[in-house]
């Protein structure tokens, strides 16, 4: 009889419009490090949130030590000995390390904090598990690696035995990652069991015992790490579908439209750079796709190029003009369009009607106004044209409140607007996120059309299918840097996967090499 400490059986969790977990089963043995592997949107975080009590499953049971348990909030999870280190740390920045560790489980006497004994307990734990922390430092002053150790100490202080790590290495330096691996092995020696959520294959291979794979909400299977390798895992993760390439091969003869040199963009979350000395070019008549797992610097790269975020150093040249110091509007007018990754935050003013959103980039131009008075006819004409050309469906046409439109049509509106700008450079970040097959095909067709019209298209995508369907050239981004430049016709999803997870790096991108 297998000694499973945690069993999640036939879990189903649905959100409006999407099944995040579809009949998923996960069994964790006592004393093992069990990895949960999958791409973005596979359902890993949702499953762990269910285990930690942040969500309740629609169907399925959770068992601990063979007995069915009910976890309806993090307190329940904690009482069962389950603890979680979240991807975005849940630490109070102005509190000290010690204060954060004891928060919620404070030692008190008549309501007053009695720190002396607890200090000792925490220092002992820190030493025992080799978790170096500066116990009186404020969270906002310590490194990300140390912050993570604080999260781990939180769990140990509460004597949790089942420890969940959600993408723990996303924000760590290579040295800090090595340390973490050692710490995890220590924890196992002391009798803990660990659930390790990750998409980084080499780390999984180096420290885990078994791996369960999720893909698009479904459970694919569980294998022993000893019996497998990164290729096989990569295949399980992305699926075996053979991708048909929809883009006809084209000789790129166009000139360089966008040139980025030595760009550095600082990170808001941690002290490392989000974009670390990156250089590349996009030419007219090509779709260059930046592939990679979310959180490796793609967003910041685009924000830096478009001007939404400040860059520390480097130059950006567009249409032979140096735009590095220019305002957002100036960059747009120099020849840049941007389909943003967060359509509600940046792409649309949801409380505006459709026509007003469609003119967001043009309202100040000649023809759309005279002496400051908006030319309503022009605006409507423009809106009607775009609605027709791009087949944007909405309740009341140009007068629809954008908030009430479906996501697909909102995205179409944004794309329509940006393409209509006829900029030489079109930046599209995850343009098909959350959309169904029909809408995706539509958008892909439009992007390819732009390319055929000799525009430069910079595509940032998390979906490998998309990467293969429409790109002419692929740059893989990992940890703020490019690690590979690939030809979609000459590579495979599995190979890209290896670059995406940091397993491989092409020689020209190895630091110190040229």
């Amino acid at each position: 009889m297998e000694d499973y400490i945690i069993e999640m059986e036939n879990i189903r969790k649905e959100f409006p419009g999407v099944v995040a977990n579809d009949d998923v089963t996960l069994r964790v043995r006592r004393g093992e490090i069990h990895a949960l592997l999958g791409e973005n949107g596979a359902g890993k975080s949702t499953l762990m949130s269910v285990l930690f009590g942040l969500y309740r499953p629609d169907l399925g049971v959770i068992k601990k030590n063979g007995e069915v348990v009910n976890i309806s909030n993090p307190n329940d999870a904690n009482d069962l000995g389950i603890g979680m280190v979240h991807q975005h740390f849940k630490l109070v920045e102005v509190f000290t390390v010690l204060e954060n560790i004891i928060l919620g489980a404070e030692p008190t006497k008549y309501g007053f904090l009695t720190m002396a004994e607890t200090r000792k307990k925490v220092l002992d734990l820190s030493e025992k598990f080799n978790l170096r922390v500066d116990i009186d430092a404020k969270i906002e002053d310590i490194s990300v690696g140390m912050q993570q150790r604080v999260e781990i100490l939180k769990m140990l202080y509460r004597e949790n035995e089942i420890l969940i790590f959600d993408e723990p290495t996303a924000v760590l330096t290579p040295q800090e990652i090595d340390e973490l691996m050692k710490i995890m092995k220590e924890l196992i020696k002391e009798g803990k069991s660990i659930l390790f959520i990750s998409h980084k294959l080499n780390e999984i291979m180096s420290v885990c015992d078994r791996v369960s794979v999720l893909r698009k909400g479904k459970y694919i299977g569980t294998v022993n790490v000893a019996d497998t390798n990164t290729d096989a895992l990569s295949e399980m993760m992305v699926g075996r579908k053979v991708e048909t390439i929809k883009v006809t091969p084209k000789q790129i003869k166009g000139q360089s439209i966008l040139k980025v040199e030595n760009l550095i963009v600082p990170s808001k979350l941690h002290k490392n750079n989000a974009v670390n000395n990156v250089s590349f070019e996009v030419k007219a008549g090509e779709i260059l796709c930046i592939a990679g797992i979310e959180g490796n610097g793609q967003s910041e790269l685009v924000y830096g190029i478009t001007g939404l975020e400040k860059t520390t150093s480097g130059t950006i040249t567009l249409n032979d003009t140096d735009i590095t110091g220019m305002s957002i509007r100036e960059r747009n007018l120099t020849g840049m369009s941007h389909i943003p990754e967060d359509r509600h935050k940046f792409g649309l003013v949801l409380d505006f009607n459709l026509a007003d959103n469609l003119m967001l980039k043009k309202y100040f131009q000649k023809g759309y106004h005279s002496y400051g008075f908006i030319n309503k006819d022009r605006v409507l004409k423009h809106s009607k044209e775009l609605i027709k050309k791009f087949d944007i469906r909405s309740g009341r046409g140009s007068y629809t409140t954008t908030r009430s439109m479906s996501g697909g049509n909102q995205q179409k509106a944004i794309i329509a607007r940006e393409i209509d700008c006829e900029s030489e450079l079109l930046i599209a970040v995850q343009p098909t996120r959350g959309l169904d097959v029909g809408a995706i095909e539509n958008i892909h067709r439009m992007l390819v059309e732009q390319r055929d019209n000799n525009k430069a298209v910079l595509l940032v995508s998390l979906e490998l299918e998309e990467v293969f369907d429409i790109s002419d050239r692929i740059l893989v981004m990992y940890n703020g840097e490019f690690v590979a430049e690939l030809n979609p016709r000459k590579t495979t999803p599995q190979e890209i996967g290896l670059y995406m997870v940091g397993s491989k790096r092409q020689p020209q991108f190895v630091k110190g090499g040229e």
């Binding site: 419009g17 908006i374 697909g408 995205q411």
Partner: protein, 404 residues
């Protein structure tokens, strides 16, 4: 046309419903307080609160003089409502209308009396001063990111004391006994009085002037600015979604400052309208003038819509006249109580309409309702933290999402 299986409330209808709920709520609470107060008096009967309430509601209709007073009251209310409402549209909370109103009024009088300006020029002076007093908090918000609520309130008190100081030190303003307030305009400069189109005599009341016309015209102007100009477009974009407006290349700082300047200007004009009417004199005041604060419920009730503000201004003006039906001493307090309860409820009203909108959206998704191409998308809460509006550290500096 999107197929709807159930009729959904439109935006405009929702706003009107929430306004009505607020008003009814305010009236109800006022009624209850009235009952409580009556209970403490010995000679009241069961029917007294009802009678009083009815008198309150019908008082302005009793004769033409009272009715015209409604418009007289409404004019500065509408203008202050426009001031507050316009700022709301940009996501700013201008509680400083009082200070802008006060200084605008004072300097309009200075221009009228000391410089012998005609009414329209004096009005312009008031407008400019009000605009300046609005510029200051706008500047502080844009550059130092200091919350405009604190700065405007500080400036309210500064304005009051400044006006008092200036009044005492400009004796030429006060050459007629009792020498402790600005002289009547009719004695010092009749050309500074707001014109009445010769109707004062005809209608038999001192309270008629073109102030209401100025207010309505400016309301229409603000409506045009907000809805038909590129500037208004930018103001609304900033107020609705600061991120998207930055993405679109709009300069947020400049928009904030311009908005506060215009807001202040409107409040300044309100001051001119009030004090160039010839009906009241500018006194040494120890308390902030209420008019600026009354602009808040005017704006909220109309959801900051300039044309709606005309209606809510008239409504509150009506209530103020009706308030005189409350027994002498009670009158203004009762009206204020009702007004403030209305504001309290209108803060809810915004929420109520948001809640209704959310419910409608959820129902729409649940029914699997989509439009003809069948595409429907929802974002799955894949990561645990939703990115909340990151507030810059600084004196309580958060963009208040006031206009929804």
């Amino acid at each position: 046309m999107m197929a709807k299986s159930r009729k959904e409330l439109s935006e405009g209808t929702l706003n009107i419903i929430s306004s009505i709920i607020s008003i009814l709520g305010g009236l109800l609470i006022g009624f209850l307080i009235l009952i409580l107060l009556e209970i403490t008096k010995s000679e009241s009967t069961i029917s007294t609160p009802f009678t009083v309430m009815r008198n309150f509601l019908t008082y302005p209709l009793q004769d033409s003089g009272k009715f015209i007073k409604v418009f007289y009251n409404a004019a500065p209310l509408i203008l202050c409502g426009l001031a507050v409402g316009f700022a709301f549209k940009a996501g700013l909370f201008n509680i400083g209308a009082t200070g802008q109103y006060t200084l605008g009024a004072f300097f309009a009088l200075v221009a009228a009396i000391l410089w012998q300006f005609p009414w329209w020029a004096a009005m312009l002076v008031g407008m400019v001063v009000g605009a300046f007093w609005g510029f200051i908090p706008g500047f502080f918000k844009a550059v130092f990111n200091i919350n405009e609520v604190i700065t405007t309130i500080m400036l309210n008190w500064a304005a009051l004391n400044l006006a008092n100081l200036l009044l005492y030190n400009m004796p030429k303003l006060r050459i007629i006994p009792p020498y402790n307030r600005v002289d009547k305009l009719i004695a010092r400069n009749p050309s500074a009085l707001l014109p009445d189109l010769g109707l004062k005599e005809l209608l038999g009341t001192d309270f008629f002037n073109i102030g209401i016309i100025i207010a309505i015209v400016l309301a229409v102007v603000m409506f045009i600015v907000l809805n038909k100009t590129t500037f208004g477009y930018e103001v609304k974009a900033c107020g609705f979604n600061k991120n998207a407006s930055t993405y679109a290349g709009i300069k947020a700082k400049r928009t904030i400052i311009m908005t506060m300047v215009i807001s202040g200007a409107l409040a300044g004009i309100a001051g001119g309208v009030s004090f160039l009417a010839g009906t009241i004199q500018f006194n040494i005041e120890s308390n902030l003038l209420a008019m600026g604060f009354n602009g808040i419920p005017v704006a909220l009730l109309a959801n900051s819509h300039p044309l709606g503000i005309i209606a809510s201004g008239l409504f509150i003006g009506y209530m103020q006249v009706g308030g005189q039906a409350f027994e002498g001493v009670y009158s203004s307090e009762m009206t204020n109580v009702i007004l403030s309860v209305i504001i309290y409820f209108s803060a809810f009203a915004l929420i109520v309409s948001q809640v209704i909108k959310n419910i409608q959206k959820k129902n729409r998704l649940k029914r699997g309702e989509s439009d003809e191409d069948g595409s429907e998308s929802v974002s799955v809460p894949e990561t645990d933290d939703s990115e909340s509006e990151d507030s810059p550290e600084g004196a309580n500096a958060k963009t208040m999402e006031v206009s929804k």
